[in-house]
Symmetry: C2
Amino acid sequence: MLNFEYLLPTRVIFGKGTHLDVGNIARRSGASRILFHYGGGSIRRNGVYDAVTDSMQRAGVSYIELGGVRPNPRLSLVYEGIRLCRQERIDFILAVGGGSVIDSAKAIGMGAAHTERDVWDFYSGAAPERTLPVGVVLTIPAAGSETSMSSVISREEDHLKRSCNDETIRPVFAIMNPELTYTLPAYQTACGAVDIMAHVMERYFTTTDHVETTDRLSEAVLLSMIANVPRALRQPDDYHSRAEIMWCGSLAHSNFLGVGRVQDWATHQMEHEISALYDIAHGAGLAILFPAWMRHVYRADVDRFAQFAARVWDVPESDDRETMAREGIDRLESFFSSIGMPTRLSHAGIDASRIDEMARNTFCNNGDRTGTFVPLTLEDKLAIFRAAV
Amino acid sequence: MLNFEYLLPTRVIFGKGTHLDVGNIARRSGASRILFHYGGGSIRRNGVYDAVTDSMQRAGVSYIELGGVRPNPRLSLVYEGIRLCRQERIDFILAVGGGSVIDSAKAIGMGAAHTERDVWDFYSGAAPERTLPVGVVLTIPAAGSETSMSSVISREEDHLKRSCNDETIRPVFAIMNPELTYTLPAYQTACGAVDIMAHVMERYFTTTDHVETTDRLSEAVLLSMIANVPRALRQPDDYHSRAEIMWCGSLAHSNFLGVGRVQDWATHQMEHEISALYDIAHGAGLAILFPAWMRHVYRADVDRFAQFAARVWDVPESDDRETMAREGIDRLESFFSSIGMPTRLSHAGIDASRIDEMARNTFCNNGDRTGTFVPLTLEDKLAIFRAAV
């Protein structure tokens, strides 16, 4: 285990009906002039928009609206939000939505709090010093942004998709009502599930030895997801499975599964290139890339992949660790297929024509390589993209 | 899953050498005049006392010492600490030790911050409104007090041992260096391990349905403990197992395993009566009582005990759930024996003479009953104590 620091200052308010009190919760968090940030029309259709605005009015906080966040949230809307915050003297940002809305809110919060800096700097390696406080009403369990220190933003003009990771930007509260996810379409539910599982696996496949506790905790979250996602797909208004998935989404990316270990993140970096070019859902891209990445790298630590196979996928223990490892990867891929996810680029209508561009553009988060479990060269990335066609 | 709120504002600083920077960490947490609170001579013998005082001097914070905390920390020393805080205008309490020292520090912090209240009120049901900030250098993984909202104090004159549980009293930071636990004697290591496992099990045995994720996470911590405690006993300076145990201790009692579920706590309440009368180590008392409690209550939910047996103790799945359940309890008891713990009162030199007194004194944390998995009557408690003789 490596030395680590860990702090999770986000107040989680979890359960039925919890979003109805968002106005008071925001007021107690110091909000008086709120930027109410959201996405498309789904929160208007399912009553969340009305519930949130009613709650803010009853609590006596004022708000300005900024809707229109789209998947793979864009820098241009972030700039608009920053202008609005300054013009309206906003002191709090309320993000109502999924990871895209929350990531956009985090970007606006940083940008508005730094008058002397371009917010894109914080997605290019600079560390933010402060932010406007961000509160969340979560409607899509997936990105884990409600308790994470991450935000991912896309810059339209050059198709760059980059992340900022800093303790400063964890939300001050996260209201999670699993009932709000009953209306999520099956495809979006499954995409979210893949993202959640990917957040666990990016941490699980590590070069750090002696990480027994976090290994076991990671396997626990994966086992719960494997049990609960098919239930939620069969019965979209099953509170229990929706609740387990929503809580797993926060656990998966709040980094308590990642403490004390080197993390990988190659698959996320490579997926960003797919969704930057093709605007495919992030979870679908991950379902395509993760098995391909695993088959490319598992020989670097066959025992870890065999452990994953045995504990998570119930592959029988055997002396043939390599066969165990491959069987675990096959079962992961089958699971993704079983919940309706593509597992090849071609399933998503993407051909090999821009693989070279995607491999070359993939962010190198480890010197001139991508990832740490196996630090990927350009050749490695090309091979993984090709295997995923 | 029940609705819940969760907030863990303690900054964890984990790993080798971390305690050497405690002075700066305390200063950055706002400390200028520190009450340095500790127990007996062990921190003087193992160099921690010198390291901590050097660090405070280098950081330019002043401190007053109050040592002498004993296991089952006493109210009289808490009062002395409160007097000292007022007299010396202390603004921060640094607890260096295990659960007893931290619990005593929490009590002093509450008492010093409430001039109009007797601190014992907060151990008799009143909620504290504030506290002096408490920081921790942990030397014994066991009570989990370094990140918990709990403190347990004993009042000497009437042998009352009572707890305070409030969000207000979580420490502001917890420095955890597993190296500091190399010198823990085997018996104390094992007592700590039982306490950690008990904190998981008090939450695991619940009447709440559909708690898959927290079940799995709880099993993960227990599995890690079962693997690592024997290693630490065989090789006391094995960093890896010491680190896993130390991190499990915080996970077990920070309540992230307990969210969304009814918790039991009968065994802890009953154990408090043993250690109040006999001054036996808390972990040893728990090793005696837990199997006896389990055998008394398991028929209330045989499936939950069978799940515990299968997932934690590798008991083969079978249609005979009752035999599985009993086998799991037997294996827990055997594990406690294997790490040198007593599993009967007689093993600790305690006879049946005061069972009636202990059963009658046991705090009823559920109306006129103790516990929730099976709300225990006086007769139940007598039966459990008798079975543990």
